[in-house]
Symmetry: C2
Subunit: 421 residues, 2 copies
Amino acid sequence: MKQSQLFTKTRKEAPKDEVSKNAELLIRAGFIHKEMAGVYSYLPLGLRVLKNIERIIREEMNALGGQEVLLTTLQNKESWQKTGRFDDAVIDNWFKTKLKNDTELGLANTHEEPLSALLTNFAKSFRDFPLYIYQIQTKFRNESRAKSGIMRGREFLMKDLYSFSRDQKEHDVFYEKAKNAYHKIFTRVGLGGQTYETFASGGSFAKYSHEFQTVTDAGEDIIYIDEKKRIAVNKEVLAPEVLKELGLEKKDLVEKKAVEVGNIFSLGTRFSLPLGLFYTDEKGEKKPVIIGSYGIGLGRLMGTVVEVLSDEKGIIWPESIAPFTVHLVSLLGDKVDVRTYADNLYLKLEKSGVSVLYDDRDLRPGEKFADSDLIGIPNRAIISERGMKDDKIEWKNRETGDIEMIDEKEFFRRVPRTVHV
Amino acid sequence: MKQSQLFTKTRKEAPKDEVSKNAELLIRAGFIHKEMAGVYSYLPLGLRVLKNIERIIREEMNALGGQEVLLTTLQNKESWQKTGRFDDAVIDNWFKTKLKNDTELGLANTHEEPLSALLTNFAKSFRDFPLYIYQIQTKFRNESRAKSGIMRGREFLMKDLYSFSRDQKEHDVFYEKAKNAYHKIFTRVGLGGQTYETFASGGSFAKYSHEFQTVTDAGEDIIYIDEKKRIAVNKEVLAPEVLKELGLEKKDLVEKKAVEVGNIFSLGTRFSLPLGLFYTDEKGEKKPVIIGSYGIGLGRLMGTVVEVLSDEKGIIWPESIAPFTVHLVSLLGDKVDVRTYADNLYLKLEKSGVSVLYDDRDLRPGEKFADSDLIGIPNRAIISERGMKDDKIEWKNRETGDIEMIDEKEFFRRVPRTVHV
């Protein structure tokens, strides 16, 4: 895409009421727009990142045998009353609304109830299970405080996967697979090194749930990390007996602030019993289905990447989710040759399927470089009069700042051709 | 995908309260699930169709120079009060909700206000225009009656494109291009022959708006068609002076029921003036931006395809949006050879990127054929003992019912390899 045609522009400052680093950088770079606290629109650059994250998550969910659906935001209260969760005293972040006839509806903040109820129409025999069903869909949560930018949204895109197993053993096997898929996802989006499988409180049906916590000062959680074993314990369950059980020692643990980028829960029969999701086993016996739920907030993940992978100049996107993989920047100077060469190079890149943003704007080099640093595309290719004299392109790595002068052949060897939006 | 692993099953009957043909067929075939009137979840087959429609629309929007964004559902009232549209008496199908601090919010049913307000941050000079911005996003409309299945949803995916032009002439040129893009979209999803560009009432800023009306008895509109000129007039503007102006004659017109699958509006300065979206022209003069809006409801389009392209046995999907392009059906009989051959064929198809549903279930042929007719995949390949004796595959066209016995080489020549989910 030509940058001259992109409708967003970078801004010197984010809105005054924006206190989070992720939203501040993303707003200044033109990735998102703040509608109100916790409610952000995605602009072209931001939507491209979001879709790259979505693609990675979808690939890993499909690899797990997940079947994709799209459930609804509007919820009638029946299913939720069966589990006792329509009550604002039980789930305190509902948005509620009303039909014309005054019927009260909720805006879904999760989907255990409607999906379990839906499944009773299809799955009844042991032959119909196990099932793994997921969606990538907008959730609504009426947060009283929403000061963490896109890391804590009132409206946000979430991947929620639900597993439906015949018994605890079958559930446990899948639960481990899901854990591995989560590690893959966080590694693929560039947070592998900073993200820890973390033991957290488990509710009624499991001793622990598992969170995936990414270390950052912007995090709202406190975790205790055993760096050697690469596992952590959430402060909420930190106790001598827990450490003993997990084979951890207090002295090996380091306290860190972290953000929960994913979580997985064993829900047992908490939802299948009240919603009537049973199956008939080989012997004709009726048994409740064992449910697990597995969430990742896409905006939160994107925001966390920005918190962790950025410097004083701006964002540093990993290639896998960058809005574009190459930022082609032409320094026009006085010569028409530069523009012609850069225009042609851009066309060649587009033709060979490279995801490229071409800064063809008539601006000073300093402005172009500042914008490029802020936007954070991982590879920058600079076309200038100086370089052209030696038939060279300046190739700069956003993360390391390393610069090399390379010829066009080498340039085409280096440009990434990964699957990308 | 193997049909034995698909969690949905076909059903003999739709819910009793379902009166529309599109929802009845889609529910029976397992494409959608009814949560409440006008609110439907998309199951794996339905989501595949929806995504194919989305892909076609996105391609045509990008070809128009559209930049994709994702705006929010939650709306604070400020922008809407400036245009007078937050009032329930003005827009009578708002869903409203509240933040914890009692601030009233609306759930967006359209996005002229937030997008125009957003643009004032970026576009100020004549150099910044024209702009074409679109999204594919869920809309909420509090319909008092919602009896048309997915053709009239209370919650539905919509493509909304907005054009921002510097003057009426620039607007008019784009408006014609958008019209052409709409014709392409309706042709690509299989409704070209039944869809008419229709003159409808234009509001304050244009004599007419343009609807794209697809002829079907399930439609809620009445239109008058001049079949030769392939244009129509909505009943709401049918009057002698209108016909005269359009060069139509009453005697050439045929009255039909139709559904509005798309609409395009010239909005003039209706939104730019109250929201302050101005630009400075070449002479330094401040001028209001001319806005157009262009909508297509994805669910409505999918529902219309089902209304128009179906028979007493089920749905007949066009290849372009079918959930799969090939339905491979094995008739197991007693022989293990049939399963082995069909299993291998399925793997080969998957490997070569064909979008295939493989009915590997151990059911009677009659049940498999009835399901296949109901689901409506355009090409059916039947593997049976009888065919295998002559090294042949039975190739059946869902629309025409034509059957041919072909060998594997010919089969691989015929299977569609179009871009597809």
